[in-house]
């Protein structure tokens, strides 16, 4: 493949990434929140907003501004790179660095989401409480193939990273060591879930049994899916480094970016579907 084709490919993926991660996905999340406010206003559904709505809107506005700024910065970088006729491999590196930067607002949102989650759990508990009188099995939430895939994938990734470190194929050790630590954390969490030593707290006192099941299923599936995807990616990258695979790094970077975009779009789709399916009547002001 010629450098011109590689440049065109990276440019197309770059533009797509900027649009999806900085504009389309944040825009859809913002519209979902607005639709929720209209469908379930705070005065009628006070239990749905344990944190003042004005504060939620302020945080959303701030993070959206960060999203737009990063997207604009990425666009400027791309234009400058094309104008300077930068090599496709350099453009591909910028693509990945930009992807990391665009993921940053999501990471910045995490402490805020933890704060909101704590506020939900801290709500006064109703006098009448419901639960399922049945011990749940992990396989009721996650397909056995995904459980096996997640575990195996992470183990193989850890072995691959170990082999690469042992053979001294990486000039800097911080990246593989960081990957190893992250894999270990995921592995420990999966084993805790499998052994039943990870009771899942109730997200809020008013959630219905069906919604509770859906939330737990979603969280467990995310855990094993991330393990599977991360394990495959890390194993592939170690093999790429060790075997010096003949295909250009440009295509790897493009594939990583496209995968990231697909994951973001999938997340928005799941969130929208979950919100539409939720039973919000227990959160009404006059519900017992």
């Amino acid at each position: 493949m010629t450098p011109t084709f590689q440049t065109a490919l990276i440019t197309a993926v770059f533009v797509s990434q900027l649009l999806v991660l900085s504009f389309i996905v944040p825009g859809r999340m913002r519209r979902m929140f607005i639709a929720l406010l209209q469908r379930c206003p705070p005065e009628k559904f006070p239990r749905l907003y344990p944190v003042p709505v004005e504060r939620m809107q302020r945080v959303n506005r701030m993070l959206n501004a960060v999203n737009i700024a990063i997207g604009a910065g990425g666009a400027g970088l791309l234009v400058w790179g094309l104008w300077q006729q930068v090599a496709p491999l350099q453009l591909a590196r910028w693509l990945i660095w930009c992807c990391c930067a665009q993921v940053l607002p999501g990471l910045l949102r995490l402490p805020w989401q933890l704060h909101v989650a704590r506020a939900f759990r801290a709500m006064p508990v109703p006098a009448v409480r419901n639960a399922e009188l049945r011990s749940w099995q992990l396989t009721e939430f996650v397909p056995p193939a995904l459980i096996a895939g997640g575990l195996l994938s992470i183990l193989v990734a850890m072995l691959s990273i170990g082999a690469v470190i042992y053979r001294g194929l990486m000039p800097a050790l911080w990246a593989p060591l960081l990957s190893l630590v992250f894999c270990l954390l995921l592995l420990v969490r999966m084993l805790m879930v499998l052994s039943g030593h990870a009771p899942m707290p109730r997200p809020d006192p008013y959630m219905s049994a069906d919604d509770l099941f859906r939330v737990r299923r979603s969280r467990l599936r995310i855990l094993f899916t991330i393990s599977l995807a991360l394990g495959l990616y890390l194993t592939f990258m170690q093999a790429y480094i060790a075997l010096r695979a003949p295909f250009a790094l440009v295509y790897v970077c493009a594939a990583v970016s496209l995968l990231c975009q697909l994951l973001y779009l999938r997340f928005v789709h799941i969130t929208k579907h979950a919100l539409a399916a939720r039973d919000l009547t227990p959160y009404q002001a006059d519900a017992a």
Binding site: A131, S135, M200
Partner: protein, 128 residues
């Protein structure tokens, strides 16, 4: 629905203690056939977290149900509905105790003791 489920509901404002409500509903589920012999019950911590009550309350309910052989605990594997749970659920030790006490109180009243004297004697026996 994702699978057949047995819902349990407790009311902390009910005069009946929470552990007694748990026991009553588990017995009812066993008698009604919703909980079949061998069915695994939720772990104490998980059920306590879902109902947002003290784990000791769930442990007390499970302990009393195990005493009555409605459930059985298999170490770290958890608690399961006893194979003869349905038959054992028909035996209500609390109701038997209430009936026996009622008979004793009636006898004591017939002998001329006042309610205060009966209460004092009962408290003394319980202390011992």
């Amino acid at each position: 629905m994702h699978y057949a489920q047995v819902d349990i509901s407790i009311n902390v404002n009910d005069p009946l203690p929470v552990f007694a409500q748990l026991i009553e509903q588990i017995r009812r589920a066993v008698l009604g056939g919703e909980l079949k012999p061998g069915t695994a019950l939720p772990a104490i911590r998980q059920l306590a977290a879902d109902l947002q009550i003290n784990p000791n309350t769930v442990a007390k309910a499970y302990g009393l149900l195990e005493r009555d052989a409605v459930i059985e605990t298999r170490g770290r594997h958890g608690s399961f509905v006893h194979r003869d749970a349905r038959r054992h659920s028909l035996v209500d030790l609390s109701a038997q105790a209430a009936a026996a006490l009622a008979q004793t109180v009636a006898d004591l009243r017939a002998r001329g003791l006042t309610d205060s004297e009966i209460r004092i004697a009962f408290a003394g026996v319980m202390r011992d």
